[in-house]
Each structure stands twice: as C-alpha cells, then as structure tokens.
C-alpha cells in the first residue's frame, strides 16, 4: 500500500480520501465541458498569453494557465498590467494573486449543453471593502444561462460569498460570516431544472436557494476569472485552484472528495 501511494504521488495529481485515490480529472471522464486550473502545478503556468515563456519562480506574472480538465479551456491574459502573479504562501502552496485593481483571466467560450454546474474554488479573500467577482460566466451572472461567484457580494454585510445561478431567473444564495482576510474552499452547485442553487464553504453547506430558476441550460460564455468581463468588480485575493464542471449532479462522495482535494491545495480547514 505504501508503495502504491508513492507511485500515485509521483503522478502529482492524486490524493487519498478515505483510502481511495482521487483526481479532479475523474470529474471530466465523460467529456464534461469545463475547466480545471491548478496553480500549484508550475508546468501549467506561463508568463505570456501564448504560452512560450514558463513561470519559473514566485513573483512572475501569469499570462496563461493551462486547463488540466482535458477540454483545452486554458485561461489567458495578454495585458501586462492585468496579469495575476504567481506566488507561494508560507506553507509552500502555490497560488495566483489578483490585485483587486485590474487583474483577470479569461477562458475561451465554453458550451455547457446542460443545466447543471459545479464549481470548486480554493481562495483567500483579502478584502470585503468592495463587491468583487471571483468567477463569472459571460458579462453578468444574472443573464440568461449564466452564473457567478462573488467574493464578497454587494449586499451588506460584506463578509460573504455569493453564488448566482440563472436559468431565466437568477437565484442567489449568500454564505455569510466569512470576514476577510480568510481562506476557504468555496463550492457552488447550480441546477436550473432542479431549482437548486447551493453554496458550500469548507465542506459544509452554507446557504441554499430552492426557488424556481426558470428554464433552459447554462449557455455558452467565456469564464472571466477575477474581474467582471475584464472591466469591473476586481477580486482582491488568491486563487489556489479552480474547477468548473458542467455535468450531471455529483454525488455527495464526489463533492466531498473534490473539496478535500481542493483543500489540500488551499489549506483552508
């Protein structure tokens, strides 16, 4: 068993949860659309948007981070002033630092083809001073077939994370009591036809909205990371990892395994 764990460790993407190996790649085994960003994996980070100059040390800007889901939805930023920075925290965990002013990344347009989304984010929120967009599909999470995660939200008190899940009607569960600076694994689960919008923090459900979300699938949008549409609501904090999956609802075990994996990259709890 020890030998087996060692071999898995060399692959660099497995963790053990209840004695079972787990990789986020398994979430995309049926070719589910989405993206998996892992800043702890230096081989996925580049200083330029084209992906020609690798990131080799903390303090370097990140113009491209490769998608490990296998879908090819690499996130990029071509403008020098808007690139997040690769950093390593005091526990040796790598992350992307967003300055809360003008840093952001964007993926290509992703076509979900389904009305369910699961998002797992390892984050450190450094400020509650202003509404900020951790992640958003398209230019507004309230648009038809869109979603977003705000860190914090606009509503007072601002010590929050907010998830917006929108079919034709937006629903917004708010996780309160998470005052910055704070490190969390934030999970958001949206199901339009199931009328479920759930936000979990550090492996525990923090809020849920079961009101009607209307109809339709999540629609084709690019994913903006760290700033609304690249123009407003900048996120001030760190991203240790990000998984966005459009696919059938996950089991409780799959959610727990993914949160445990994300926490191994984040150190939130």
């Amino acid at each position: 068993m020890i030998g087996r764990v060692g071999r898995l460790g060399r692959l660099g993407r497995f963790s053990l949860t209840n004695g079972v190996s787990f990789s986020p790649l398994s979430l995309f085994a049926a070719s589910e659309p989405g993206v998996w960003l892992d800043p702890s994996d230096l081989t996925t980070l580049f200083q330029d948007a084209a992906g020609t100059t690798p990131v080799t040390a903390p303090g370097q800007s990140v113009g491209r981070i490769l998608d490990k889901s296998g879908r090819g939805n690499h996130a990029t930023q071509a403008t020098a002033a808007a690139k997040p920075t690769y950093q390593v925290d005091s526990n040796g965990r790598g992350y992307l630092s967003f300055d809360g002013v003008d840093d952001w990344l964007v993926t290509p347009t992703i076509t979900p083809g389904i009305d369910k989304v699961q998002v797992f984010a390892g984050v450190r929120k450094l400020s509650d001073a202003a509404r900020a967009m951790l992640l958003e599909a398209g230019t507004s999470g309230g648009a038809t077939g869109a979603f977003n995660i705000e860190a914090p939200s606009i509503a007072a008190p601002a010590a929050t994370y907010l998830f917006t899940s929108t079919g034709t009607v937006a629903r917004q569960p708010v996780a309160s009591g998470f005052a910055a600076p704070i490190t969390n694994v934030v999970t958001s689960l949206g199901d339009i036809s199931g009328d479920l919008a759930t936000i979990r923090v550090n492996g525990t459900q923090a809020a849920q909205n079961t009101d009607d979300q209307g109809t339709g699938n999540f629609l084709a949008y690019p994913l903006y990371i760290g700033r609304r549409a690249g123009t407003s609501l900048p996120f001030n904090g760190r991203i240790y990892g990000l998984i966005v999956r459009f696919g059938a609802n996950l089991t409780a075990d799959q959610i727990a395994q993914t949160e445990t994996w994300m926490n191994s990259k984040t150190g939130a709890y």
Binding site: Q47, A49, G59, Q60, S61, Q77, A78, T79, A80, A81, A82, T85, S97, D99, G100, V101, D102, L126, S127, A130, R131, S140, G141, G142, I154, T164, A170, Q172, R228, G230, T231, S232, L233, N236
Partner: protein, 110 residues
Amino acid sequence: MDCPYSAVLILPSEYKDDGDAFSEMMGWGPNCYSVPLSETGHHPATHYGCRAQVQQSFIDMFDDPPMEAVELINVLIPVDGRFLETDDGYTHFATAISEIGLKVIDDVAL
C-alpha cells in the same frame, strides 16, 4: 524577472486611447488603462487607471523617457508614491486615487 515595485498610472479619459496605444506598442498588451474613475464613483469616467508590478527599468523610463513617451508621461496625473516597493497593489491604488479625489466606478448589475 523580479518586479518589486507597484506602479499606479492615471490618465484623463481623453488620453486613454493614446495610453492604451502606447502600451500596446511597447508590447504590454491592449487596454492597459482599464479602471474607470470619477469623483463620484459613477459614470461617466473622467480618468482611467492601471496598476502593475514593474521593474526598476520601468521606473527609470520616467526619468529619461523615450521621445514617443514624453507627451503621455506629461499628461499622467501626478500622484504621491506613483511607484512603491510593495506587492500590495490594492492598497497602493486605493491610496493613490483617494489622494486625488477619485473613486473606482463599480458595476451594480446582478
């Protein structure tokens, strides 16, 4: 590449296109001045800002600017501490715009 300095650059809105064009010409990418600013925090933007980690060579350019940058540098809004040795860009930018009476224009849509 070590970039120990935080830079805050603010332009009147009428020079945004010139600033963006110069930044793109220098290879720094499009839409460099992307933060809309005004005294009220509401539209329309009267100024645009950008914030970046930079090297000493970037700062040196302001002391001995290339000819094509002179006009642009002259219209940048003077702020105390335009360059600071910090990686806390959020505080640097917030302090800089507060000193000149500007606020970020935020989006209030869902």
